[in-house]
């Protein structure tokens, strides 16, 4: 672990124990565990924005919740290093701008919570800091005295950002922060996050299902599929020459704005249900390059020349 490593995730797994339930037990069934996250390792360096992409059920949100300390890993370690002596502080921005703010609290009290809990300011300085933060995210100081219900989705997401910044975090987890927003508002929030990232030199994990957003925002990137990281590397390089077929197919699947070339690029097959046992590569049943080897044996994580890592027996060039 080098000095530049801020977050180290080492062999982390999360198994959700399936409860058989009363009737299930009567019928002699035992609960089946679902490995939502399966031996994931990654390192996030100081000052970078790291992207984590995947479709629903791939385990990206579970991984985020483990990193944020909201749920303990079943196996493995997560180590977060602080900057200067104090216990490392982490903040999180959530997808749903409605459930992420306590509707009974004023915006000022919401934003002040991390300041008070961490004792970052005292007395009058708290209020001043709240006003400063609200203005920083494009709201006004007067908004501190309103309730969240008085704001639109995009404005609420700004309040969430102000609250996260109020905690002066060493590390920021962004869990699909713009997925619930409209196109024009999404662009505003992405722009704001981009500005804050460069102004405040934050270190952050940006989770999304949208590859285009990851390309826009992040320095490095990992692609998850069914609980595993299948590919990881510097964002630009990964987009220029992806090694894992899934990454390639995912990049092509999202329609662009070109009206000349109207071809669609569907990925064959459907996402298997999480928990489906697969002895070999998890993508094998949908992969155009899959051979017998892929179905029998899971490929190990392999390092490429450009700092990328991937899990594939027959990588793309």
């Amino acid at each position: 672990m080098s000095a530049a490593d801020m977050l180290v995730v080492d062999g982390v797994s999360k198994v959700f124990a399936g409860e058989a339930g009363f009737v299930g037990k009567l019928l002699g069934r035992s609960g089946v565990g679902t490995r939502a996250v399966d031996e994931v390792s990654l390192t996030i360096r100081r000052g970078e924005m790291f992207g984590l992409v995947g479709e629903s059920g791939c385990g990206k949100s579970t991984l985020a919740r483990m990193i944020a300390g909201l749920t303990p890993p079943t196996q493995g370690q997560i180590a977060l290093t602080g900057v200067s002596g104090h216990k490392p502080r982490l903040q999180m921005i959530f997808q749903d701008p409605f459930s992420s703010l306590n509707g009974r609290w004023t915006v000022g009290r919401i934003v002040a919570e991390p300041i008070r809990v961490h004792g970052l300011r005292e007395g009058k300085a708290v209020e001043a800091r709240v006003h400063e933060l609200l203005e920083h995210v494009g709201l006004s100081a007067a908004d501190a005295y309103k309730y969240p219900q008085e704001f639109s989705g995009g404005q609420r997401q700004r309040i969430s950002i102000a609250r996260a910044l109020a905690g002066e975090p060493d590390f920021l987890v962004l869990d699909e922060p713009t997925s619930a927003l409209d196109v024009s508002v999404q662009a505003q929030i992405l722009k704001l996050l981009d500005t804050l990232q460069s102004e405040l030199h934050l270190t952050s994990l940006f989770i999304t299902h949208n590859l285009s957003i990851v390309r826009l925002m992040t320095d490095r990137l990992a692609v998850m599929y069914l609980g595993r990281i299948v590919e990881e590397g510097p964002t630009e390089q990964l987009f220029r020459s992806p090694r894992h077929p899934y990454t390639r197919l995912l990049m092509d699947a999202a329609p662009d704005l070109d009206t000349e070339d109207r071809s669609l690029h569907p990925i064959p097959g459907d996402l298997p249900k999480p928990g489906t046992p697969m002895p070999g590569c998890r993508f094998a049943n949908r992969c155009p390059r899959a051979a017998d080897l892929c179905k029998a044996q899971e490929p190990a994580m392999t390092a490429g020349e450009g700092g990328e890592r991937f899990r594939c027996h027959f990588p793309l060039d």
Binding site: E55, S184, V185, S212, L216, A253, T259, P266
Partner: protein, 326 residues
């Protein structure tokens, strides 16, 4: 435009909230030609789903259609009784809803639902209907169609379910299908697949499609023409390539530049300031004027009418349309 399959003229939908009478759709007009795919795009609150619901008379109170004409193949749908409208729905206009979880009946098998729909609307025997159902399952790309017929919706994945919904919408051989955000609830990898199925069936059957979406990428790939809605009004309508390459309305252009599409440069992302107004605070004049860099006094006081450009190839509602798309 006399050859239009569906013609919507000056459609108004209002709702009463307390003492306020609010306008949700404010004079929507467009036409769909036989066999055409019309994309309807807009952000939430633009009224795109309401437009679809108003056409097939599925508005939920307090929403109410208060004006306008809806003409399908020369027949006024707006004047139909509830009973007659029910026959049109399903038989002549199919509907694909956003959420495949709730648009299928969970206690009936896929086969029962398809056969029911077919025998309700077409003069065929139950046996013939069953054979057709099997063919429809195969046409939407599900493997082992005969066995699928006896499966329940919960036994299928989200993408498969949405393909069954497409089969249900098309099995009565309608002339028009309204697809309301058909791929929004689906994952990226599944989304393209469902769009492909929709496109193939459109080409095979010649059904016209009204494709409602917030995703300009979907529009770019699927739509022959596109209507851009803003605050319950049509901002711009025209051939997709024309509208997306050289948008006339500043909102269309703004939406394009705010869209995070594959291959977009970080610097090029350019948000539209502000947000769509609430129904209760739609500004006078052009609804977009507070967010528009080109707005003048005229825009703030008068509502721009929908006018033709390029000899009727398209229409826009703007006093100061863009010339070069920027």
């Amino acid at each position: 435009m006399s050859a239009a399959l569906l013609e919507v003229r000056d459609l108004r939908v209002e709702l009463k909230r307390g003492k306020q009478q609010l306008t949700a759709l404010d004079g929507i007009s467009f036409a769909i030609a036989p066999g055409e795919v019309l994309g309807v795009v807009g952000e939430s609150g633009a009224g795109k789903s309401l437009t679809g619901a108003a056409i097939i008379d599925l508005l939920v109170p307090p929403l109410k259609r208060t004006g306008g004409e809806i003409v399908l193949s020369g027949r006024h749908l707006d004047a139909l009784s509830r009973e007659d409208m029910r026959k049109v729905r399903g038989r002549r206009i199919g509907f694909i809803a956003q959420d495949p979880m709730t648009s299928l009946n969970p206690v009936l098998t896929i086969g029962q639902q398809l056969v029911d729909t077919i025998v309700t609307h077409l003069p065929v025997s139950k046996e013939e209907a069953r054979q057709r159902a099997v063919r429809w399952i195969a046409r939407v790309g599900l493997s082992d169609p005969a066995r699928r017929l006896d499966q329940y919706p919960h036994q299928l994945s989200g993408g498969m379910r949405q393909r069954v919904v497409i089969a249900l919408a098309l099995c009565a051989e309608p002339e028009l299908v309204i697809a309301d955000e058909p791929t929004t609830a689906l994952d990226v990898s599944v989304q393209a697949h469902v769009l492909q199925v929709l496109r193939d069936l459109h080409e095979e059957t010649g059904v016209a499609v009204m494709l409602i979406t917030h995703d300009l990428g979907v529009i770019a790939k699927m739509a022959d023409r596109v209507a851009v809605l803003y605050a319950g009004r049509v901002a711009e309508i025209g051939p997709t390539s024309e509208v997306l390459r050289t948008p006339r309305h500043p909102y269309t252009s703004g939406l394009m530049r705010a869209t995070v599409a594959p291959g977009l440069d970080r610097k090029a992302l350019d948000p539209i300031p502000g947000s769509m107004p609430n129904l209760s605070s739609i500004p006078p004049g052009c609804a977009f004027n507070p967010r528009c860099a080109r707005a003048t006094a005229e825009c703030r006081s008068q509502r721009p009418p929908l006018v033709d450009y390029r000899d009727g190839a398209g229409k826009h509602a703007c006093f100061h349309p863009l010339e070069d798309g920027r």
